[in-house]
């Protein structure tokens, strides 16, 4: 059984300028100990997916349908206090900006104490400090930093602390939403190395949300490519990267410059759709070089092709 299974999830936002369908029927499975990458551009729905799993969506969002099965339980049907038990203990989330999980007026140690207390761990101050120090050290942050405030640390260290907090209660699943995007190149590489270590030492499953296919290649066993609120391709990372089936995946991979590769870039024509009125049929058709009449009128279902899922009439 999968650790996490998302089935036909639909989420919309009500904004002043109209209703936006952020997720239009997204399905995804993540096995025990697996790292699954979710790749997409802004507006693809990848962050909405992460937030919906933990029911951390903003108030103007509505879950319109679908299921989020975690170890067989549908998280969408749980009471709020049951959900609070799940967050942190079973599923933790780390964000792009570590300040979303760190309080600027609290020392690092207090973040851990609060977390332990909230989940009724019942540790003494000394025990809490010892455990928090241990996990910080595993994340490459010296124990002494426990007494510091977030602003006294570098961006990379703050993100390490945020990951340490995420792992503090030893969750089964870690959702990492663009956690290296705000970091410098070298620090980004260090955090990726850290996540590789985490999956081995903690056996944590990771849902790794990013816009960077290169990071997915480094880290993820499987990858889901999202476009305009839908999954267009899903499969083993190596296969998807070496032989992408969906035209969007192909175009995305070809548009990214590679050092040592061709300097003639192949940009994807056009722009992502306005999600208030997504195009009919296949949502990629206005930008797709292969689009036909069928693509303009008929929505391609996500079909199994070998051990890959693809949503394209012509894949």
């Amino acid at each position: 059984m999968s650790l996490l299974e998302v089935r036909d999830l639909k989420v919309s936002y009500t904004t002043r300028r109209g209703r936006i369908e952020a997720l239009s029927g997204v399905s995804l499975a993540l096995g025990e100990g697996e790292v699954v990458g979710v790749v997409g551009e802004s507006g693809s729905g990848k962050s909405t997916l992460g937030q919906a799993i933990l029911r951390l969506l903003p108030r103007y969002a509505h879950i319109e349908g679908g299921e989020v099965l975690f170890q067989g339980r549908n998280l969408l049907e749980l009471e709020e206090d049951e959900m609070r038990e799940i967050r942190g203990r079973e599923i933790a989330m780390v964000f792009q900006d570590p300040y979303s999980s760190l309080n600027p007026v609290m020392r690092i140690i207090d973040h851990f104490s609060e977390l332990y207390e909230e989940h009724g761990a019942g540790y003494t101050r000394e025990e809490a400090a010892k455990l928090a120090g241990d996990i910080l050290e595993k994340m490459g942050v010296p124990r002494e930093k426990l007494l510091e405030y977030p602003h006294q640390m570098s961006g990379g260290q703050r993100q390490r602390v945020a990951i340490a907090l995420g792992l503090a209660l030893n969750p089964r699943l870690l959702i990492a939403d663009e956690i290296t995007t705000a970091l410098d190149a070298l620090v980004e590489a260090q955090i990726v190395d850290l996540l590789k270590e985490v999956r081995h030492t903690f056996k944590t499953s990771i849902l790794f949300i990013t816009h960077n296919m290169g990071l997915v290649a480094q880290l993820a066993d499987k990858v889901t490519v999202m476009y305009a609120g839908k999954i267009v391709e899903f499969g083993n990372t190596r296969d998807v990267i070496s032989s992408p089936l969906h035209p969007y995946t192909k175009a995305l991979l070809a548009s990214v410059p590679r050092i040592g590769g061709s300097k003639e870039l192949q940009p994807i024509p056009g722009d992502p759709p306005d999600m208030r009125s997504p195009p009919p049929g296949c949502r990629f058709h206005p930008r797709c070089p292969l689009a036909t009449e069928k693509c303009r009128s008929e929505e391609p279902p996500l079909k199994l092709k070998g051990d890959r899922l693809v949503a394209c009439h012509y894949a």
Binding site: Q157, A185, L186, V192, G214, Q218, I241, L265, P267
Partner: protein, 334 residues
Amino acid sequence: MSHATMHKLLSLIDLKVYFPVKRTIGEVLSGRRRFLKAVDGVSFEIGKGEILALVGESGSGKTTVARTVVGLVKPTSGKVLYEGKDIFSLNGEELRRYRRRVQMVFQDPAVSLNPRLRVGVQVKYPLDVNNIGTPEERKERAFKALEAVGLTPPEEFYRRYPHQLSGGQRQRVAIARALVLEPELLIADEPISNIDVSARAQVLTLLKELRRRMGLSMLYITHDLSSAWAIADRVAVMYLGKIVEYGTVEQVFSEPLHPYTRALLGSVPSITPQQMLAVRVALKGEVPNALDLPPGCRLNPRCPFASEACRVSEPLLVDVGGGHLVACHLYSKG
């Protein structure tokens, strides 16, 4: 000045930009002053139609270099020469002319564009300020600039507001605004880092096309090495206010010499994992506080190859052959 620099469009000569740091009471009493050495002796040249990529992490000083070139920041010492003339000695009409010839594009079009003004008004604005042409001519030139960046039909985009555009389109508006004065040199500070992945290749391709069509020279500032590879002729790698390596993109990317350049290249998350491990040099820790620079080579506390020499003397930028410059004791003999 040598003859070689005479026909270069832009030359930076030993540019230093130090920012004074707010003093503590102790420092006020003792009369001491501390400076943040944002740029500490940077020299490079950009020829006509050339694209130089200035690569570095945040805090390396690359943006300060850009701001100095457009005259937004005054250098502590050193010179910025445009066609051999010190831009900080220009005034009156000469200065206005320089400002027309050098234009800048910023990182975030959501910030650099005014949300309340129509796109056309903003693209046309530099012409209004400089009092160029009749109102009809200005509008015509704004249309042309919009067309040049691929926002067609221009009449349609002229009327829109920034929020009605995608991130990539907004950045193209910012580029159109920079182009409307028909500059010779474009300073592009991280122009693709805040836009969507699929729009990045569009903007890079556009910048290359502008160079081809208009002979535009460019200072392209980025932390993204892959984009520097795709767009630039030459690349300068900066670390803590200094250039540590300089050369053609082929020289620097296929034969990186400085441990910092090698670490940076190794950190690029490549699509094929093996490639990454091959060149990777692991640096220790993170960039130190720029107010408290280590003595000797600035990289020495983090560098796996650091020796005694690196801790005492600062390596000079020397030519290791064919115009490939490196500032590292590993390559300087004696």
